[in-house]
Symmetry: C2
């Protein structure tokens, strides 16, 4: 129907002419609303809403996201034409409200121009501030603020920003230098200064002149002086930025359609440095440190926002009460306080009243503690920003519980207010705050396990144990740790290593113990022979004191007193609330009765992973273990295993007792055997003597255990399938312990877990050994006990063939550490060579060993759960990797339908809250 | 409707009464047919069919698979009752046809009882021979055969078999000893002999007596003497065996339903040792060695089947022509031949005529060369077995092409007759057969790369190269090889290593080169310092001759002449036929122009994997490479890369030229950098001197490159993303070479492949570098060329997120070597510690590095192809792992819909045939 075309064109044109493209806001009115994000972008919708609830924000207007699409369909000129009238009208409205004029010299209106898409795209698109300045207007600003340095600094910043963003002066290649920065460097060099703020007014004027010359040289055009010309340039630049390379890439990553477009918000600039009736400050509706329900904050008269935080002037308190407490702490007399540092409540009582009323309104509106920025310009209060305030872990818990009690939020909301990871702060010792301020940071490493510790340096695990026995507090300092160091790690207050990442041996074990640890402090030079640790030329000897903060990764010189954590009533209420909503249960990864008890105290309802290998490192056990490994035949191996059996059984009895009444999943021997044998000549000689063989025999066997890629080598059930007698011994120890406890009247639910299954038949072979051994044991003891046999799912192939494996396995436990290693092809131990660069380049958004990769590894977890349950609908599935205590991963586990997560004892409360949140989100 | 029940019961009973349960066969008649496998099992249906086409097989009958189900529903007694009449009738029929009587002493009929399910379950269920024997009948058999030893040996075997299988004497636990074997050992020990056949008639009689006593002791019952009692026992035992542990496990593995059941075939035994009108032999309808269309075979008069192969008597030829050729070779005169070794054609002309007619009939019926076993019992010819004959690779090709030409089979069938792997025999040198017979095997290793080689021992790669230049033929003998040995491997006739598996460096590289290789000959003791190789105490020095057979893994002392392969016209016709049907194309993995040419000659239509790292090991290149790796900063790295660029470009020019007109996929640098640096002090010193730095600097950098699990470490595109300048240089070299060839008028289709992608963003970063570099290069040269950028899919995560990756990658190439490593969590280099045990225990059915694991790894290949094509429907997908040349894997690739497979040059013909077969099977 070709004749339709012209008609459509007419309709289109009419539509185009009539459509509303600009939404104004200001003075308590707005054409938009909070729910118009799609049209006005997040920022535009929020600015409109603030007006509607009566918060005084600088007036302005938002150009819709639809215009962005028109911009790419119709072109720049057409869109400017379409917007012309509406924008002009909106500017006039702002001029009216701000009592100033756009482009006026005497009383200039300056504006900001910002992008704002439907979804937040932080840093992806550009912003221009102070638009409206030129050589004359800057003089007007100088007069109004009586601050030429400020005016010219604002101007040179505007020229640079505008030049970069609108006029395309910013080099596309990151490595090339910004021409403006080059000029600044030249000017500073000529003047012999190093910092930007050492430049004086005349220098700033020179910068502006040179900037403009550079613009002329590069673009062939003069820098625009007309305010409207500047404005149109900026608006179009925002639309252009929607299609810049960074933004396209970001959208691709986040799955944001290009059609969404960006809105443009234009808003009046306000200034707190226009004399003594102007001011600027930040305030909080509750205390961000303690969570107490008291309004607080700081402000400065005749100042810009930066001044409050810059530390040049001492900021004053907002409330009188706050001011008094502050003065007391600073030992300032009441007279001096009132004279020099009056609170806003005292100095600007009317403004304070308005501020207090609005902060209350905002908290009531957002139902959360607000962190607000405001400016008073010539006696008029403007809110620049309000957002939910950052807070400490303690404040987070208190605020959530208080808001619930105050009826401001419901239970689900209270739970959702908890950032589970921040609970960690409540569970570990912290440094005394006053002492911490005076402490000197020596070096930073990775915050491998949270908490604070202080003690004397020792370099060897056995020294740590010995000093501990002698009543000393020590910090174990190592290049890296290995399973042999376990006892020493347990004895130390904290652990510091020079190598290794967040999932190194030291990190994983320390987190399991709830012990403070810093790993990978690469700047440390550790000399085991001399027993010294060197940082930046400074040498520390064994016995010297250091303090470490595992939450931040900071290492301090000397002793810093620590405070033990104290779990408040609020915390306990929160945990009860979590249990009310959660559907998954939370177990713990624990290898010792102590860990099991700790986890139980934190609310764990079972052990999801009890590793047996850690048990083999103490005294007699390691000797027998080594004899077993180096045995030449099955007989010798069985003999050595016979020695290990009573030790293992005793270990399991302790653990079962600590977890009485709850299930305990015991994993059979997993690590490659070479981890247990001595690699040094001395150790080999000792072992040879003990075994009555030549040292060369030992050396040869140790050598034969060497593997190119031990992670992918002879370990897991590959051990149990090549040396079935190991599985037999471990089965006897596990079920023997359970039978013993049964006699004592203790209920146990042993679950025997086969590690590293990749093939159904691997599992079947192991299962057969376990069931046969159990039958024999039951016959021998004339008693029996219920037990389950299941497997780790940690090999990609196991997940892919989970339906086969579930035909035999009674439960699945996802070992997401290994599963991540194999799904990504990353060795945890070697990842340091590229992970930092990958994170920096955003190739990876996070370390997949810390946060479960839901797209890849998670896909396997989901697949295995689903496939497994097609065969065995009631298949019990859990996760026992490090991810079991990471909130986003815990939530994923809930969505996949796992029955439980298992994590280290100190992560149990975190997992409980995350699990509850996941259930609520559902 | 409760009143229905009795009615149904009546109908059931009637049905039960009327159903046919036994199908007889014999004398050219049969109640069954070939297509009744479901009812009669494979064996029963085949026996029926043989009768119907007029082949004289010993008569008998088959009890249906339905009876097996009844057996488990109704119980043993009921089933025996139901079968009673039919079985008796069928036995009478056999007695009649065999002119003998079941249980008769004078003229006994003996039978065999065998299981036979719908699907073949080899070795899973039991067979009983010589049923019908007892203390009296054995005497009758003695008289009839005039061979008491044979009769008693048959009897004692029957008692043992029957005791084990029917009377349950066989221990269920494998490790326990069979009580009959125990008795045999005792009797032999008492007599002081070692082998069973050293026992005399009296000993055999003693064995029978003791066996029966053991049965009585263990079962409390006498061994059954009644033939029918024996028969019922045997029939029920076959049904019982359907539910034995082995069979259940096997069905579970193979997905065979238990309801299928097994049939039971009972068949008359015949004997070729009943005097001079009896005989036994084997014959072939064509020559199994050459494939020539001549009937041939061997026989012996008055003998059992075993005698023909046992080598005690010299077997005689079937045909007169064959007999004459045989005599000539054995330098036996015509007189002697006719007297002592007459052919069957001469000695039994009537029987021969019948035999010849039937062999022709059988070949015409089965349309393939037949391997037949026959027995003549007292002048009557019986066929015991016919099957498609095993043949050499050459015969396989000739027979298929001949049958096609003779119109006996069509093209598709001809192609399906090829076992692709056997083509290998045709492509490599072989030892001279006569010389080989005299050669002494020193040791056996793994048959890592097929072919035969003979030469002087050298132990170092540079010696190999030097000796080769001096015109000598050498075999390179190493503990294991590394990339540094490449030039030496290329210069050698063959490679022999003491360590490493079928996918060790030596094995993979040698297969790529089409060079003979034996790996993992563990019995070799190699001393590099002394330049000696020791086997069983015998020492070989550098320069001594050895010969190796890479097809069998045998190492021989001294020189054995080799014959070069000659590709026949038949071979070429077959290849043309393959191309006619195939849908996938076949590319090659080649890193040098020579390999590329070789592969092209074998029909490769492109390179699917050109590894660039192999290029870096020669002379100047390795120096520059090492400088690059040890560079302290980007500048130094770029400088070193600048030196490498011209070398790389020249390499690519050579390869592109060799593959002119076809696509060449070049993989960017992949291996961990430590593979390129010297690990010995001497090498490090040399490098330090060349770089002008202290040796400690080199040692430290080399040390820093060490990784715990290099396979999962800093390699693949992780290198290109941390050192982008490597990718830049390689892009310049690849596209620079293509531009150069364009000038020369040579067409190229370069495809740049990013290795080890696991995350979309890894690929995007690399792609950006490649595209930017290409644009720059095109600008600089004022020329351009089409190219593609794609990726290896070899990380499980890449397969799982293939839809994302396909949004940017233009092609996928499955690197199934690494994909197998990570999907299974197996390190190829370390698998030897458990793989043999896994294969022995049948945990793995095959080495997954040789045969693609379709359930696990293949699932990922399929998933990635499907996911990739949802985003990019025309996504080109190929495979370039070792599996690309393995027939079952190639077929899988076809089914998944890959566009091509890529394999080492000498596997190209194999892949072509496998691909054609896959297309035909579809």
């Amino acid at each position: 129907m070709h004749f339709c075309k012209p008609e459509i064109a007419i309709i289109d044109t009419l539509y185009i002419m009539e459509k509303k493209r600009v939404y104004t806001f200001g003075n308590g009115k707005a054409e938009g609303r909070a729910d118009m994000k799609n049209l006005l972008g997040g920022k535009g919708a929020n600015l409109a809403e603030m007006n509607l609830i009566g918060v005084p924000v600088p007036p302005g207007f938002t150009i819709t996201t639809e215009v962005c699409s028109e911009y790419y369909e119709l072109g720049k000129d057409k869109v400017v034409e379409l917007l012309q009238d509406e924008v002009k009208k909106a500017i006039v409205n702002v001029e009216h409200l701000m009592n100033s004029q756009f482009g006026d010299i005497a009383n200039p209106l300056l504006v900001s121009v910002r992008s704002g898409a439907r979804a937040s795209m932080p840093g992806m698109m550009d912003t221009i501030l102070n638009l409206g300045l030129n050589d004359e207007v800057v003089e007007g600003l100088t007069r109004k603020t009586n601050n030429p340095r400020f005016a010219w600094d604002s101007y040179r910043r505007f020229v640079q920003m505008y030049g970069d963003v609108v006029l395309g002066m910013k080099p596309t290649n990151k490595e090339d230098i910004d021409p403006f920065e080059e000029i600044i460097e030249e000017v500073k060099a000529a003047k012999g200064v190093k910092l930007d703020n050492e430049l004086e007014v005349e220098d700033l004027k020179q910068l502006v002149a040179q900037f403009k010359a550079a613009v002329k040289e590069r673009t062939g055009k003069d820098f625009p002086t007309n305010a409207y010309e500047q404005l149109w340039g900026a608006i179009c630049a925002v639309f252009d930025s929607w299609m810049n390379e960074r933004a396209i890439l970001y959208r691709k990553m986040e799955g944001i359609p290009a059609e969404w477009g960006t809105a443009v918000s234009v808003q009046a600039m306000v200034f707190g440095n226009m004399g003594n009736t102007s001011a600027t400050g930040v305030c909080f509706s509750r205390d961000a440190g303690s969570g107490e329900d008291v309004f607080n904050g700081e402000y400065l008269i005749n100042a810009q926002g930066e001044d409050v935080v810059a530390g040049i002037r001492t900021p004053q308190q907002i409330t009188k009460a706050g001011s008094k407490i502050w003065a007391e702490r600073a030992t300032i007399s009441e007279e001096e306080r009132v004279a020099k540092y009056p609170s806003m409540e005292e100095a600007m009582p009317e403004i304070y009243k308005e501020l207090d009323a609005i902060q209350t309104k905002l908290e009531n509106h957002y139902h959360d503690m607000q962190d607000m920025e405001f400016t008073v310009q010539e006696g008029k209060l403007w809110f620049l920003q309000t957002r939910n305030g950052k807070r400490t872990g303690a404040a987070m818990v208190k605020i959530a519980v208080d808001l619930l009690k105050q009826g401001m939020i419901d239970e689900k909301t209270a739970l959702n207010r908890i950032e589970p990871n921040k609970l960690d702060e409540l569970l570990h010792p912290v440094f005394d705050k006053a002492a911490l301020k005076k402490a000197k940071v020596l070096v930073k490493g990775l915050p491998a396990s949270p908490g604070a510790a202080t003690g004397q340096i020792v370099f060897f695990a056995d020294d740590a144990a010995a000093w501990y026995k002698a009543g000393k507090k020590v910090v174990l300092v190592r290049i890296e740790t290995s399973p042999e160091d376990l006892a020493g790690m347990a004895a130390a207050e904290g652990i510091l290593t020079a190598r290794g990442g967040m999932t190194s041996h030291a990190a994983v074990v320390a987190r399991g113990m709830g012990k403070c640890c810093i790993s990978g402090a690469g700047a440390l030079i550790i000399d085991y022979k001399k027993k010294t640790m060197e940082v930046d030329g400074k040498v520390f000897k064994e016995g010297d004191y250091i303090s470490i903060n595992g939450t931040t990764g900071q290492v301090f010189e000397g002793q810093i007193p620590t405070q033990d954590p104290e779990l408040t009533g609020d915390f306990n209420e929160l945990m009860k609330l979590a249990d009310k909503y959660t559907k998954m249960s939370v177990r713990t990864n624990a290898d010792t009765p102590g860990d099991a008890q700790q986890a139980r105290a934190f609310g764990a309802v079972g052990i999801g992973l009890c590793r047996t290998e850690h048990m083999f490192f103490e005294g007699e056990k390691i000797k027998a273990m080594r004899e077993m490994i180096l045995a030449e035949d099955t007989d010798a191996r069985q003999k050595a295993l016979g020695k290990l059996l009573p030790f293992q059984q005793a270990d399991f009895e302790g653990i079962f007792r600590a977890m009485a009444g709850y299930p305990v999943t015991v994993r059979l021997l997993d690590p490659p055997l070479h981890e247990f044998v001595p690699h040094d000549p001395k150790g080999q000689q000792e072992l040879a003597d003990a075994m009555g063989v030549d040292v060369s025999v030992v050396a040869q066997r140790v050598d034969a255990l060497h593997e190119s890629n031990p992670m992918l080598g002879h370990r897991g059930c590959r051990l149990g399938n090549t040396y079935p007698e190991i599985t037999e011994m471990q089965t006897r120890a596990i079920l023997g312990a359970a039978l013993q406890l049964k006699k004592e009247g203790v209920t146990t639910y042993p679950e025997i877990m086969v590690p590293l299954t990749g093939i159904l038949h691997e599992f079947l072979e192991q299962e057969k050994i376990i069931r046969t051994t159990a039958s024999q044991l039951f016959k021998e003891t004339n008693d029996s006990i219920e037990y389950k046999v299941g497997t780790m799912i940690e090999i990609p192939r196991a997940a892919l063939t989970a339906n086969r494996i579930a035909s035999a396995a009674e439960f699945f436990s996802f070992g997401t550490n290994d599963l991540t290693q194999m799904t990504f092809g990353y060795s945890r131990d070697d990842i340091a060579s590229f992970l930092p660069i990958y994170l920096e380049k955003k190739i990876l958004k996070f370390d997949p060993f810390l946060v479960l990769d839901q797209n890849g590894v998670g896909q396997l977890v989901r697949m295995a759960t689903e496939k497994g349950r097609t065969i065995r609908p009631d298949l019990k599935c859990g996760i026992c990797g490090e991810h079991g205590g990471e909130p986003s991963s815990v939530k994923f586990c809930h969505r996949v339908g796992l029955n439980y997560v298992s994590c280290s004892p100190f992560r149990v409360p975190i997992a409980r809250v995350a699990a509850a949140q996941a259930a609520i989100e559902e």
